[in-house]
C-alpha cells in the first residue's frame, strides 16, 4: 500500500513537473522543473530496488547543473528561439502526440476494468523474478560484460572533445 502511494506521488511529480517544464517561457525556469523531474525519477529508481541507478541519476543531475554553470554566461544568451518556416507541421505533430497522450491517460484510468491480471498486455518471456538484481550482482555483470560499452562511452567523450576543439575556432 505504501509503495503504491509513494509511486503515485513520485510519478505525479515527474509528469506534472515535466508538463510545467515544457510550458515555461524562460529556459531558466525550465531547468528548475527539469531537475525536479529528474529527482522524482531518482526516487522511482530507488523504489525499483536500483540504488546504483539512483546514484547515477544524482550524478547526472550534478553534471547537468555543472554544465549549466560552465555555460552560465551563455545560458542567458542561449535563451534563443529557432525560427521555423514550417512551424505548422511541428504544431500538427505535437497535437497528434498530445491526443495520443490523452488516450493513454484514459486507458490508464480504465485499464483495470477490462485487462485481466496484473501484468496485462505483457506476455512475459520468462517468469518474473522474486527480487531485483542486487547491487553486487549488477557490479559483477558490469565488470564482466560492459568493457566494450564503457570503451564506447570513452570513445564518445574523446570524439566530443575533438569536436569541441573543431567547433570553437578563432577567426583567422
Amino acid at each position: 500500500m505504501l509503495s503504491e502511494v509513494t509511486f503515485a506521488i513520485l510519478a505525479g511529480i515527474a509528469i506534472l513537473s515535466s508538463v510545467v517544464m515544457i510550458s515555461r517561457e524562460k529556459a531558466a525556469f525550465g531547468v528548475m522543473y527539469f531537475v525536479l523531474t529528474l529527482l522524482a525519477v531518482a526516487g522511482i529508481f530507488l523504489q525499483l530496488h536500483a540504488p546504483l541507478l539512483f546514484v547515477a541519476q544524482w550524478i547526472a543531475i550534478a553534471c547537468l547543473l555543472l554544465g549549466l554553470i560552465l555555460f552560465a554566461v551563455e545560458v542567458a544568451k542561449l535563451d534563443v528561439a529557432l525560427a521555423d518556416e514550417y512551424y505548422w507541421r511541428s504544431k500538427a505533430a505535437a497535437v497528434a502526440v498530445a491526443t495520443l497522450l490523452l488516450i493513454e491517460i484514459v486507458l490508464m484510468l480504465v485499464q483495470r476494468h477490462f485487462l485481466p491480471g496484473e501484468n496485462a498486455a505483457i506476455f512475459l518471456p520468462q517468469n518474473p523474478a522474486s527480487a531485483a538484481p542486487s547491487p553486487g550482482n549488477v557490479m559483477k555483470f558490469f565488470f564482466a560484460y560492459s568493457q566494450l560499452p564503457l570503451g564506447l562511452l570513452l570513445f564518445l567523450v574523446l570524439t566530443a572533445v575533438v569536436g569541441i576543439r573543431v567547433t570553437f575556432q578563432k577567426r583567422v
Partner: protein
C-alpha cells in the same frame, strides 16, 4: 611485465580484437593525427590528410584480411557476442572507408585558413567512419545504441564545423536537436524490445518476438469458429489457460510499438539532414564536403542499421508493419519531390532529394526477397558515388565564392547555371551526367537500380507499389532535369562578365573519375556491381 602486457594484447587481437581490428586501426591513425597536429607547421599541413588517407587504406587492407578469414572460418563474433564481423559488415565498412577517403580527397583543396583543412577535422572524420563501422558490426542493443550515439555525436560536430566565417552554421543546432530526438526515440524502442524478450542480443530478441508473434497467431486462429479453431482452443486450455483471456492484439501491441518507435526514430534521424532551414535568405555556411559526408555516409549508415534490424529483430512480423513502412515512404517521396521542385539553390535541391531516395529504399524493404535486398545494397553503393560526384562539381562551381568580392564566378543557384556550357563544357557535362544518374536516366546506375527495384517489387506481387515507384520517379527526374536544362542553356539574360574557367584540382579530378566510372559502368555493365551488392548478404 612487458611480455605479459604484450601477450595479453596478442591474445586479445587474435580472438575478440580481430573483429574490431579495422576500427582500431582508424583510431590509431586518428590519434596519430591529433598528436601530430600539435607540432606541424603550416607548410607541413598536408601530412594530416595524408595520414588520414593512409588510415583508410590500411583499414581497408585489414578489412580485406578479415573478409578472407570470414570466407575460411565463418562469421566472427566477439566480446560477449556483442559485435560481429560478417559479410554485411565487410560490405558496408568498405563503403564507409571509400566515402571517407573521397571526402578527405575533396577537402585537400580547401583554403588553408578554414577549419576543414586542420588535422582535428580529419581526426573527426576518421572517428565518424570508425563509429559507423562499429555501428554496423554491433549485434547487442546496448552496443547498437552506444555506437548510434557515437555516430550521432561525430555528425553533430561535423555539422557544426565552421565554414569561412569561423562560426558554425546555425542549421547545425536544428540538426542536433532533430537527430537527438531521433536517437532518444530509438532508445525507447530498444528498451521496449529488451522488456519483451529479457535479452539485449538481437538474435535472442528476434527469437523472443518470433515466439510472441506465433502465440498471437495461434490465439487469433483459436477464435475462429471452425474445427481448427476449436482444436487450438483445446491446446491453449491445456498448455496456457491464462492466454485465452487475452486478445491477440494485446500480444502484438508492444512489439508493434517497439518497431514503430525504432522506425520513426531512424526516420527522424534521416530527415534531420542540415537542409538549412535557418534562413531563407542565407545560404549555408557549412563546408560542402561536410554536407556531402552527412548526406552520403551517415544516411547509408542509418539505412544499413535499419536494414540489419529489420532482417533480424523485426523479421517475423513483416506483414504487420509493412503498412507503416509503405505509408511513411509514400509520404516522404511525395513531400520530398515537392520540396525539390520548390528550391532553386543547387545544394538545397540535391540535399532535399536525399529523403526521396531514402523513401524509395524503404519501399524495397517491403518486397524483402533476395533480389530486392540486393537492389537496395546496390543502390546504396551507387548512390554514394553519384552523390559524391554531384557535390564535387558543386564544390568546384562554388569555389571563389568567398574570395572574390564580386562573387561573380560562383554558381549557387539554378539561375547562375546558364552560361556554364560556354565557361567550361566539361563541368556542364559532368554535372549533367551525375544529375541524370541520380534521376535514373537509362544507361546510368540510377536506371539499373530502379529497373531491378521495379522487377523485384512486381515479382513479389506488389504491383501497385512497383508502378508507384515508376510514376513517382517522373517528378523527381523532372526536378533534376531542371538542373540539366539550366546547365545546357546559354547565358542570354545576364551580361557577360569576366568569368574564369572552372578548375578542378588533382584530388578532385581523381574523385570525379572514380564517381564517373561507377555511375556509368554500374549502369552499362552492372554484373560485377550486382555481385558486390549481393556479397553483403552472404559470400
Amino acid at each position: 611485465m612487458l611480455t605479459h602486457v604484450l601477450d595479453a594484447i596478442r591474445t586479445f587481437m587474435h580472438k575478440d580484437g580481430a573483429v574490431l581490428l579495422p576500427e582500431l586501426e582508424l583510431l590509431l591513425f586518428a590519434l596519430g593525427i591529433l598528436a601530430m597536429d600539435v607540432w606541424i607547421t603550416q607548410r607541413e599541413r598536408f601530412w594530416s590528410p595524408a595520414l588520414a588517407l593512409a588510415g583508410t587504406v590500411f583499414s581497408g587492407l585489414t578489412l580485406w584480411m578479415l573478409r578472407t578469414r570470414i570466407l575460411q572460418s565463418g562469421d566472427l563474433i566477439g566480446i560477449h557476442e556483442s559485435v560481429i564481423a560478417d559479410s554485411y559488415f565487410v560490405f558496408f565498412s568498405a563503403l564507409f572507408l571509400v566515402a571517407t577517403a573521397l571526402v578527405i580527397l575533396l577537402s585537400l583543396n580547401s583554403p588553408a585558413t578554414t577549419a576543414v583543412n586542420q588535422g582535428r577535422h580529419y581526426a573527426l572524420l576518421l572517428f565518424a567512419c570508425m563509429s559507423m563501422m562499429l555501428m554496423i558490426s554491433s549485434v547487442d542493443l546496448l552496443v547498437i545504441f552506444l555506437t548510434l550515439e557515437a555516430v550521432a555525436v561525430s555528425s553533430y560536430f561535423l555539422a557544426a564545423t565552421p565554414g569561412f566565417s569561423a562560426k558554425p552554421d546555425p542549421g547545425a543546432a536544428k540538426y542536433f536537436l532533430k537527430s537527438a530526438l531521433g536517437s532518444a526515440i530509438v532508445a525507447y524502442g530498444f528498451s521496449l524490445a529488451y522488456g519483451l524478450t529479457a535479452s539485449t542480443n538481437i538474435g535472442k530478441v528476434a527469437t523472443g518476438l518470433d515466439r510472441r508473434h506465433n502465440l498471437a497467431n495461434v490465439l487469433a486462429s483459436s477464435r475462429h469458429p471452425d474445427a481448427q479453431g476449436a482444436q487450438l482452443q483445446q491446446l491453449l486450455q491445456t498448455r496456457l489457460p491464462e492466454a485465452l483471456h487475452w486478445h491477440p492484439w494485446m500480444l502484438q501491441a508492444l512489439p508493434i510499438a517497439a518497431f514503430t518507435l525504432v522506425f520513426i526514430g531512424l526516420l527522424i534521424k534521416l530527415k534531420a539532414l542540415p537542409a538549412h532551414h535557418w534562413s531563407r535568405i542565407a545560404n549555408s555556411t557549412a563546408p560542402l564536403t561536410v554536407t556531402l559526408y552527412l548526406g552520403g555516409a551517415f544516411v547509408i549508415a542509418t539505412i544499413a542499421l535499419f536494414l540489419r534490424m529489420s532482417l533480424t529483430v523485426f523479421a517475423d512480423s513483416q506483414t504487420t508493419w509493412w503498412y507503416v513502412i509503405v505509408a511513411f515512404s509514400v509520404v516522404i517521396i511525395v513531400v520530398g519531390t515537392i520540396k525539390c521542385f520548390a528550391s532553386s539553390n543547387l545544394e538545397r535541391l540535391v540535399t532535399y532529394s536525399i529523403p526521396v531516395h531514402v523513401g524509395y529504399l524503404f519501399l524495397g524493404l517491403v518486397a524483402a526477397d533476395e533480389a530486392a535486398l540486393t537492389a537496395m545494397t546496390y543502390y546504396l553503393f551507387a548512390y554514394l558515388f553519384m552523390l559524391t560526384g554531384t557535390f564535387t562539381v558543386l564544390l568546384a562551381l562554388r569555389r571563389g565564392a568567398h574570395h572574390n568580392s564580386e562573387q561573380r564566378n560562383t554558381v549557387e543557384n539554378l539561375l547562375d547555371l546558364p552560361g556554364l556550357r560556354r565557361r567550361s563544357p566539361i563541368t556542364a557535362l559532368l554535372l549533367i551526367v551525375f544529375v541524370l544518374s541520380l534521376a535514373g536516366f537509362p544507361s546510368t546506375a540510377g536506371f539499373y537500380w530502379r529497373y531491378s527495384f521495379f522487377r523485384a517489387l512486381s515479382e513479389t506481387g506488389h504491383h501497385v507499389l512497383a508502378w508507384f515507384t515508376v510514376v513517382a520517379a517522373v517528378p523527381l527526374a523532372g526536378a533534376y532535369l531542371r538542373i540539366v536544362i539550366y546547365a545546357w542553356r546559354n547565358n542570354t539574360s545576364k551580361p557577360q562578365t569576366e568569368t574564369a574557367p572552372v578548375s578542378f584540382g588533382v584530388a578532385e579530378a581523381i574523385v570525379l573519375g572514380i564517381c564517373l566510372f561507377v555511375s556509368l559502368a554500374a549502369g552499362l555493365y552492372s554484373e560485377p556491381f550486382t555481385r558486390v551488392a549481393r556479397y553483403a548478404f552472404g559470400p
